[in-house]
Each structure stands twice: as C-alpha cells, then as structure tokens.
Assembly symmetry: C2
Homo-oligomer: 209 residues x 2
DNA sequence: TTACAAACCAAGCGCTTGCTTGGTATTGTC
DNA sequence: GACAATACCAAGCAAGCGCTTGGTTTGTAA
C-alpha cells in the first residue's frame, strides 16, 4: 500500500469501531462515496456509480448497506466522530483561550481542506438528503462538536477579547470556514494553512491584543 | 392581489425585461421553483412538483421553458440581477467606506433572509446542478456583484480599518452571511436585521474605531 | 476434505424521471 | 366575428433509478 495512515487518533477510533478502517472494504466505499457525493451531489450519484468506484456490481452494495441513504449517513456520522476527536486533541494542547480558538480554527480548516475534506463538504451540503430521523441522529453528534467551540468562545468573551456574541461568532465562523472549501487551494501556491488561520484570527481582531 | 410589490428597483428591472414580473406566469413559476429547490433540492424536485405548484400539468411547463435546468438557471440569473441592483443602490447611499460596507452587509442579509431568500439559497447550494456552460454564464454576472464588495473592502484596507486581506475578508463574509439562512430566524424574536448587521460589523472590529 | 458464512455477480423488476406529442381551450387583434 | 398566436391538457414513451433475487465464488476453520 502506498500510504499508511499513522494518525494515532484515527487508529484508536478504528480500534473502538467508531470509524471504519479506510483500508477495509467498508472504509474504501465510504471514502469513494464522500468524493462522489461532493463532486456530483448525493442525488446525482447512483448506486451504480458507487459500486463502480470500488469495483463491484451495484447490487453487491446492498450486502454492506441496506439503503443508499445509509451510506450517506455513515459518511456523515464517521466524519463527525473523527473530527470531534481531532478538534478535542487540538484544543487540549493549547493553554490560553485565544490559542485554543486558533487551534480549533486551524484544525477545522485542516479537516475541511485536507483528507476529510470531501466528507466535510458532504456534511454541509447534503444535509437535506438525510431522512428526518437520520438528521436527528447526526445532529446529536454535532452538538458535542459545537460545545467545544462554544466553551472556548465564551471564555474569550469573558476576557473581553471578542467583538461580537459568542453564539453568533461561532455561526459566522461555521459559514466562513466551510465556505473555504469552494475557493481555498493551498496547492496552487500562495496561502498556507497557517497563513489562512492567521487571516481568520486577524479578521476577528485576535492577531495582536 | 394581497400584496403589490412597489420596490422601484424591482419595477425598473421588470420594465427592462431583466427580471420576470412575480405576477406573471413565468414569475410565479420561478418563485415557486426557488422555494421548492431550496426546500427539497433541485434533483429531488420533479417537473411534476413544479407544475403542481402553479396549478398546471407537467408537460405544460415545457411551453415556458425548454428544460428543467433552464428553470434553475433562470432563478439564478434573475436573482443575481435583482440583488446586484439592490446592493448597488444600498452602497450608493452611503458616504464612508465603513458605512458602504455596513450597507452591503445589511442588504445581503436582507436578500438572504428576506423575500429573495429562497432564490439566494438556491444560488449557493444548487451550483453543481447547472451545466458547465450555464455555470460560466452565471459566474460572469456574479463577478459584477463581487466587484461591488471588493472595491469597498479595498478602500477600507487602505484606511487601515481592516484586520485581514480584502479578498479573504470577502470570501469569509460570503460564507458567514449565506450560512445565516440556516439559523437566523428574525420572526422568532431576538435579533433584528440591524442587530445582526451590528454583530457582523463588531466581529470585524468595525463597530467603533 | 468438508462445512458454512461472507462477499459478490448477473439479471431484471417496478417505479419514477424528464420530456414529447397531438390536440383543445383561451386570449388578443383587426 | 374571423384568425392566429398563446397557453394549456391528457397520455405516454424511453431511460434511468433504487433495490431484490437466486445463484456462484472466496475465505476460514475444524
């Protein structure tokens, strides 16, 4: 195999069976599904597309998943699980609230524009394609994720370092950061991930105090 | 008719045939289409849904539009035309660059969360459903719209009132403002449109200097 | 070697989709 | 009141959709 993922956080989640191993049949399918869902949208992606992407027949998909929607849900659930763990780890390493926020922003930008980027985009854009009951499930997981942000932003607000309301700031950041997936292309020179993080902090007036 | 739209900007665009009269058959269809496309997504909305929404048979749609995609494109094109005009008018009334930016933010929030909100959401979320040639057409119109923002932000940057780069600030604002459609509910009490605009300005550190 | 489950294929069913067709009301104009 | 042009209906076609089915291959363990 050309690439072995050695991220210890990912490894422990795989061990706990909370996230599929990208090397397994299920994991490979979920990765391909995320890419297809992002590129063409969930509705435009057929089960035949999904099957072809991993080299099996369309009917064989239903041996692994009961419905097409179950695939979408799995992509979303596993992505949130992974990213919550990644963000938690990033935040834990920082001391001040300001550094915590910077770590969260950097980590989220990395998730959005890095390896899990396809899945993160799916999480944002394919929300409506989930059934209501699945939406509720995913939403519950997302609340944990959001608490990480809110507690940090509330701390900053107490320290009078935040211009606007913490809740609203988070919502603005959600939109601003997820939108980067439509324009940020680090490979084409220019802005690095750290540089982009600096710009976001500067926009919030948190670069120098 | 219960509601007569007397917006002079809209009226002049209708007179120039750049935007369909909401009272006409075509205009009514485009409004309903925008609503359906936002609620269910373009792909999940069938031509039968669209036809039923205006009380005709599905086949009769194709007397007004050649394809389903042409309806999506028309929604997008007319929305950009209208909003460019609205934003231009809003910006023209302001004096300082700071006030111009505030006017632009307020106007865009109003577009996103007001009457043209459905169509604005379609513009953001249904981009991929357009054919490449249609995308190019819409993109051209959007450039005019974006120049309005950039010139204002560049002016602010010259005055050293902006923390981050103007281009990046605009992109962050695009994401942040369009995302409001997923959470901002002015009718449920709380934040008014002016209040939300204040919060955005505060986030940028532009409330008081 | 045998036994058995997991993984997969080949074929296709039933349904929905965007769109077409041929014809009929409705409307505006002189 | 004649006559187009416009707006619409009723019916349905061809294609593509998610998913099912019955059977075959592959992997594993005694």
């Amino acid at each position: 195999m050309a690439f072995v993922n050695q991220n210890p956080i990912l490894q422990s989640l795989i061990a706990e069976q909370l996230v599929s191993d990208p090397a397994s049949a299920r994991g490979r399918l979920l990765n391909e599904a995320a890419r297809l869902f992002r590129d063409k949208g969930y509705e435009r992606t057929t089960v035949r597309d999904l099957a072809a992407a991993v080299g099996i027949q369309s009917g064989s998909l239903f041996h692994h998943f009961r419905t097409k929607e179950e695939i979408l849900k799995a992509v979303m659930v596993e992505t949130i699980r992974l990213n919550t763990a990644l963000m938690q780890a990033a935040a834990d390493q920082a001391d001040s609230a300001r550094e915590k926020l910077r770590a969260l922003i950097r980590a989220e930008l990395e998730s959005i524009n890095g390896q899990t980027g396809e899945a993160m985009a799916v999480l944002v854009y394919e929300w409506r394609s989930l059934s209501e009951s699945s939406q509720a499930e995913v939403l519950e997981l997302r609340d944990i994720y959001e608490d990480l942000w809110l507690s940090t932003l509330q701390q900053l607000s107490k320290e009078h370092q935040l211009g606007a309301d913490p809740f609203i700031t988070r919502r603005m950041l959600t939109g601003a950061l997820s939108w980067t997936v439509t324009w940020y292309r680090p490979e084409r020179g220019g802005l690095t991930l750290d540089g982009l993080t600096d710009q976001v902090m500067a926009m919030l007036g948190l670069d120098q105090c």
